[in-house]
Symmetry: C2
Subunit: 334 residues, 2 copies
């Protein structure tokens, strides 16, 4: 195999077949993918979730992960947030001519590892190569399908006054980790991305039997934007307690230095849930036992006042309106 | 709405919501998409086909189509080629900062029109914006799911000696149309891309009840590469008759001038089928009645000799081995 990716690796011809045989199949091979047909074919029954995301993170490698891990976790999490058990992923690569095959292999090993951890299979794919200078190294699209238990109805539009808002952990690490790597910033302790597949955490929450109304992973736009989405879609108000929202000291220090608000910084391994009040404590207890929910807590309430708005009681006792992200705080973090 | 795409349109925040509300929902709105959850949720039962493709065609607009039409037809066709009825598509955009909103709208109108013609719905999506110079205008990924009748078993590995090879129409128009536009080449008559959704043609072929063993659309790598894939996957030989393979005069003239072999030039509205010998004539008759199969014909046979190889009887009476595409004839044609 060549050291660098050539245009012909995306031609559909001999070199495309070589990359499939020498790289993709050894890493991802399974009954569905091995057929190398235009579509993967499998049996599914009932309610299906289907999602897509393109990953353009820059740089491709960052503390705590890389674009490959991100591309699996992000799509696994999007499926999980509709209550689905993620099953099958597609992977489509847009590679810049001249890209190092060794780097590609390292990224695809991360894809494989994240897929293994989350129990999904890569069943279909596509590779395009564009001329040098026409793209920025590598973009990855992953789409995914998963299966939802019929009794579940989880949607951003289901929040009701009286419900509780639960956050699975400390916010802001992913955005700061990517930004630090890109800008060559050094902090006293290295900040690692929280990038992680949350499907098992979600499965345990669902298994509790308590009613989960909304679930979302606060990625681009951060926690603030996700909660605004819930408030708008559900026509309810949300009240947050600033003191209840965990932010790691190192992330807070970096945010202070950079003039960023952690409420708007992307996460890739956190979830926000809106649940009925009676079940809230029980769900938090379950989350605390999962390695991706060790600091889960109730951070606020759903209210009937100020529908469409998120209001936060600050540590100083004041009230602050938390708006949706306006503008672009940190580009290319996913 | 702004005239040009800004980085913030991909932020996940306010401007991301604006582009969704002002452009995507008016064009594509449907029950599934309108929920704006992380995944689309729908009911499906039985055998499912799942496929993905990223489109990086350059230029974005070409005679007979644009990247939007291509992104729908290509994925609709990939689903169709496994015998599936295409149902739901995802659409993920990677847009360069500064891209004209008017161009984006025109492209998305093509997406809508092609989706309407083929009867599929865009149910989930994603938008990323990357800095100027970090990509080449616009890339589109579409993934798709479709439903397959359980009795069907169509795969590139199913060809058997004695089967017939059917081609739905004249080859090479797409690749030449894109290349001409990119290089500013003028031919006496304008060559238009054949880009088209083939799902209804395939449905009619399947409804005939005759056994279709393999189906594929000869895109990148052209007819030659697709037939080589069948020969390799099925461990059979394929014999072609050059005189039976239709090539439009204008495409042949352009290929002669450019030193290209139409057998290797991409198509986006053609299919190759391998069918059992008894049903072959009947299937061709059905295809001839569809607007995308008006020059369908049997172009060759599957044989037990030279497994893995495609051999063509030339118009001069000689035999020529038709190999898989080696290298890259025409980059960025899809």
């Amino acid at each position: 195999m060549e050291d660098r990716i050539l245009l012909a690796h995306g031609s559909g011809g001999k070199l495309s077949h070589d990359i499939v045989e020498q790289i993709f199949l050894p890493l991802f091979g399974n009954t569905y993918l091995n057929k190398l047909d235009d579509s993967a074919v499998f049996d599914l029954n009932g309610r299906i979730a289907f999602t897509t995301d393109s990953y353009v993170v820059n740089p491709l490698f960052f503390p705590g992960g890389d674009i490959g891990k991100l591309a699996v976790c992000g799509t696994v999490n999007d499926l999980s947030m509709s209550g689905a058990a993620p099953l099958y992923l597609s992977m489509s690569l847009i590679i810049e001519e001249g890209f190092l095959v060794a780097d590609l292999r390292r990224i695809l090993e991360s894809v494989r590892d994240a897929a293994e951890e989350s129990g999904v299979r890569i069943v279909t794919g596509d590779t395009k190569v564009v001329n040098k200078g026409n793209t920025d190294g590598l973009f990855i699209n992953t789409s995914g399908v998963g299966s939802i238990r019929t009794e579940l109805d989880i949607s951003g539009s289901n929040a009701r006054p009286g419900d509780k808002v639960i956050l699975s952990g400390a916010i802001g690490a992913h955005g700061i980790a990517v930004l630090s790597q890109r800008e060559g910033l050094q902090f006293s302790s290295q900040i690692e991305s929280d990038c992680a597949p949350l499907n098992r955490l979600v499965a345990e929450m669902i298994d509790s039997g308590d009613e989960i109304r909304c679930l979302r992973d606060p990625t681009r736009g951060g926690l603030a934007t996700t909660l605004n989405e819930f408030a708008i879609s559900s026509c309810v108000g949300i009240e947050l307690e600033e003191s209840k929202i965990p932010v790691d000291e190192s992330v807070q220090a970096a945010c202070d230095m950079l003039g960023l608000d952690p409420l708007y910084v992307a996460n890739e391994g956190k979830l926000v849930a809106v649940v009925n009040a009676e079940g809230a404590e029980g769900i938090v207890d379950i989350m605390l036992k999962n390695k991706y929910g060790t600091v889960a807590s109730i951070i606020g309430n759903v209210v009937s006042e100020h529908p469409g708005r998120v209001v936060m009681k600050t540590v100083m006792g004041a009230s602050r309106i938390v708006d949706m992200l306006v503008g672009e705080q940190l580009p290319r973090i996913c």
